[in-house]
C-alpha cells in the first residue's frame, strides 16, 4: 500500500466522519433520521440516488464484464438505466405522495393492517440482507486487493464505518456520503475515459476498429454472445434489471427525503443524467482495460474482472490515479452499504417495532432510539454473515436482489396505486408469492448447484437452467396479487378514493410527510 493510497483512503475516512459529526447535530427526530427531515433539494437527492445506485457492482463489475466479454458486459448498463423510466413514470411520485419512511408505509396508506406491513417489511429486510452480503463480501475482497489488508479486517472497516454513519448521522450523513461519492466517482470515471479516448485519438471509429483485433475474441468481442448464450436467460436477467430498481428499498427510501412529488421528479431527472453518463463511460473503462491492461492481467488479479478499472487507472495514470480510483471504490462501497443499513433499519424499527409491535404508540424519542438500535442490529447481522461468506461466490446476489425486488415489491406497488379492486389479501399474496418464488427458484438454480465441486455453493445438478428467475417470478408475483384479490370478497373503494386522490394530486402531502 503506497503512501498516496494511505493518504486518499484516510481523506475519505476523515471527510465522511466529519460529515457524520455535522449531521449528528441535525438528527433529533425520526423524520431526521429516516429522511433527513424531507428537506433535500432535487439535485442533492438526484446525486444521492446516483451514489446509492452506482454500487461496486456497477463501477467495478460492469467495467470488468465489458473488459472480459465486450458487448455482453454492457447489457447491465442499459438495463440499470432504462429502469429509471419505470421509477419515474410509475412509482416515484405516487410513492412520495403516499408514503412516509418506508415502502410498507405507502402500501399501508391503503391497507392499514399488520399483516400487510409485516409482509412488506419482510421482503425489504430479505432484499437488504442479500444486497448487503454481496456488497460486503465484494468490499472485503476488493479492499484486500487494493490495500493489501486481510479480508476480515476489510469487512470490519467497512462495517464499522457504515454503522457509524447511520447510527450517528442517519439519513443526512448517508445522503451526503452518497453525494460526495457520486461526484468523486463521476470525476474518476471521466478522467479515465478521457485518457482512454486520448489513446484512440478521440475517434470512436478508431476505438472500435482497434477493439475488433485487440482481444482474442476478435470481432465477436463487439457483438452480443460472448457471455450470454441462452436467450431465455438473457431476457430474464434483463427483465430483473429493468423492473427491480423500482422495488429496491434503499432506492425507494430516497424519495421520502424530498418535500413533494415535483422534487421527486426532478431528482429522478438528475439521477437519469448522472447514471446514464456513467453507464456510457463504462464502455471506455471496459474497452480501455481490455486493450491496455489485457485479459490475462485482469483475470489474474480477480477472476470476475473486478480489478479492471483500478488496473486501467494505474496503467494510464500511474500510482496517483490508481490510489484515487481505489479510494473512490472504497467510498462507493461505503455509500451503498450505509443506504442499505438505513432501509433495513427502517423496516425493522419503524415497521415491525414501531407500527406492528407498539401499534404506533411510541414517542419521538423512542422512535429515534429504536431506529438506532435497528441500524445496529442490521449492521451486526450483515457483518457476521459477510465474515462467514468469504469463500462463497456471491456475484449473483446483486441480480438476485433485483429479481426479488421486481417479483415481491413491484407488483404490490403497482396494484396499490393503480388497481381499484385490489385488497389486503392480494397485497400479502403478491409480496409473499413473489418472494418465495424468487427464493426457491434461485435455491435450485445453477448459482447454487453445480456438478463440479467449487463452481457453486453445493455440488449437484440444478433443477432449473435459469440463473435469474425473473421471467417466471415476476409474473408469479403479479398473478398471486390478482388471485389473492379475487379469492377474497374484501374491497375498499372508499379507501381507494383517498389513495387515488392523494397519489394523483399530492393533496395532504404535508400531513403525511410531517
Amino acid at each position: 500500500m503506497s503512501l498516496t493510497s494511505i493518504v486518499m483512503f484516510l481523506a475519505i475516512v476523515v471527510v465522511t466522519l466529519y460529515i457524520t459529526y455535522w449531521a449528528s447535530k441535525r438528527t433529533t427526530t425520526a423524520s431526521d433520521f429516516y429522511t433527513a427531515g424531507g428537506g433535500l433539494k432535487g439535485w442533492q437527492n438526484g446525486l444521492a440516488i446516483s451514489g446509492d445506485y452506482l454500487s461496486a457492482a456497477s463501477f467495478l463489475g460492469i467495467a470488468g464484464s465489458v473488459a472480459l466479454y465486450g458487448y455482453d458486459g454492457f447489457y447491465f448498463s442499459i438495463g440499470y438505466l432504462v429502469a429509471y423510466l419505470v421509477v419515474l413514470y410509475i412509482v416515484a411520485e405516487p410513492l412520495r405522495n403516499l408514503g412516509k419512511f418506508t415502502l410498507a408505509d405507502m402500501i399501508t396508506a391503503r391497507f392499514e393492517m399488520a399483516k400487510v406491513r409485516g409482509a412488506a417489511a419482510l421482503s425489504t429486510i430479505v432484499i437488504v440482507l442479500f444486497y448487503m452480503i454481496a456488497q460486503l463480501v465484494g468490499a472485503g475482497a476488493l479492499i484486500q486487493l487494493l490495500f493489501g489488508i486481510p479480508y476480515w479486517v476489510s469487512v470490519l472497516i467497512v462495517g464499522v464505518m457504515m454503522t457509524i454513519y447511520v447510527l450517528f448521522g442517519g439519513m443526512t450523513a448517508t445522503s451526503w456520503v452518497q453525494i460526495i461519492k457520486a461526484v468523486l466517482l463521476m470525476f474518476g470515471t471521466v478522467v479515465i475515459s478521457f485518457l482512454v479516448l486520448l489513446k484512440f485519438d478521440f475517434s470512436i471509429f478508431r476505438m472500435f476498429s482497434e477493439m475488433a483485433t485487440a482481444t482474442d475474441a476478435g470481432e465477436a468481442y463487439l457483438n452480443p454472445g460472448l457471455l450470454y448464450t441462452n436467450g431465455i436467460n438473457t431476457i430474464s436477467t434483463l427483465l430483473a434489471l429493468v423492473l427491480g430498481t423500482a422495488g429496491l428499498p434503499h432506492i425507494l427510501m430516497r424519495f421520502f427525503t424530498v418535500k413533494d412529488a415535483q422534487t421527486a421528479r426532478s431528482s429522478v431527472i438528475w439521477a437519469t443524467w448522472i447514471v446514464g453518463i456513467f453507464y456510457v463511460l463504462t464502455i471506455f473503462l471496459g474497452f480501455g482495460a481490455a486493450a491496455f491492461v489485457g485479459k490475462d492481467t485482469i483475470v489474474a488479479a480477480n477472476p470476475a474482472g473486478n480489478m479492471a478499472a483500478p488496473l486501467l487507472a494505474e496503467e494510464l495514470g500511474g500510482d496517483i490515479l490508481f490510489a484515487f480510483v481505489s479510494a473512490v471504490a472504497f467510498a462507493t462501497i461505503l455509500a451503498v452499504v450505509a443506504g442499505l443499513v438505513l432501509s433495513g433499519a427502517s423496516a425493522l424499527s419503524h415497521d415491525i417495532y414501531g407500527q406492528i409491535i407498539k401499534k404506533g404508540k411510541i414517542t419521538e424519542k423512542q422512535q429515534v432510539m429504536a431506529a438506532r438500535i435497528g441500524s445496529l442490529v442490521i449492521s451486526v447481522i450483515s457483518i457476521l454473515l459477510a465474515l462467514g461468506a468469504q469463500t462463497l461466490n456471491v456475484a449473483f446476489l446483486v441480480s438476485l436482489a433485483f429479481c426479488i425486488a421486481a417479483s415481491a415489491n413491484l407488483p404490490v406497488i403497482i396494484y396499490t396505486i393503480y388497481w381499484k379492486r385490489f385488497n389486503s389479501n392480494g397485497a400479502v399474496w403478491a409480496i409473499i408469492g413473489g418472494l418465495i418464488t424468487a427464493l426457491v427458484m434461485v435455491a435450485v438454480s445453477p448459482n447454487v448447484w453445480n456438478p463440479e465441486p467449487g463452481k457453486a455453493i453445493f455440488v449437484g445438478t440444478p433443477l432449473v437452467t435459469l440463473t435469474n428467475p425473473a421471467i417466471i417470478s415476476v409474473p408469479v408475483g403479479f398473478i398471486c396479487g390478482w388471485l389473492g384479490t379475487i379469492l377474497s370478497r374484501e374491497a375498499d373503494v372508499v379507501k381507494y378514493n383517498e389513495v387515488e386522490v392523494r397519489a394523483q394530486t399530492g393533496i395532504s402531502v404535508n400531513e403525511v410527510s410531517h
Binding site: V82, A212, Y228, G231, V494, N497, E498
Partner: protein, 108 residues
C-alpha cells in the same frame, strides 16, 4: 399544496368530481402507454440479439447495429424523462385547479 385549516379532506367527493376523473384517466393513459412503449423497445433488444442476427451486422466501420440500438435506448431514456416532466407539469396545473374547485365547493 396548501393545508385546509385543519378541516378533513373529503377524498370521496374529489374522487367523484368529473374534472378529477378526467385527469386520472388522462394521466394513467399517458403513463401506461409510454411505459408499454419503452418496455417493449427495451425488451426487444435481448430478443433481437438472442434469436436473430440483425443487430450483429456492421453499420459503420467495426461498429455493429447493436451499439446503435443500445445508444438509441440511452437517448430514449433521456428524451422520455424530459418528455415526462413536461407532461407532469401540465398535470400538476390541472390537479391544482381541481383542488381549488373542490375548495370553492367545500367553502359554500
Amino acid at each position: 399544496m396548501e393545508k385546509k385549516g385543519g378541516k378533513p379532506i373529503d377524498y370521496e367527493k374529489i374522487a367523484k368530481m368529473e374534472s378529477f376523473r378526467q385527469l386520472s384517466r388522462k394521466k394513467n393513459a399517458f403513463l401506461w402507454t409510454m411505459t408499454v412503449i419503452f418496455f417493449v423497445l427495451y425488451m426487444l433488444l435481448p430478443v433481437l440479439t438472442s434469436y436473430t442476427k440483425i443487430l450483429h451486422q456492421k453499420a459503420i466501420g467495426e461498429i455493429t447495429w447493436v451499439w446503435f440500438y443500445s445508444f438509441g435506448l440511452f437517448i430514449m431514456v433521456w428524451g422520455l424523462a424530459h418528455f415526462y416532466v413536461g407532461r407532469a407539469n401540465k398535470f400538476d396545473k390541472e390537479a391544482k385547479e381541481i383542488i381549488e374547485e373542490y375548495e370553492r365547493g367545500a367553502g359554500q
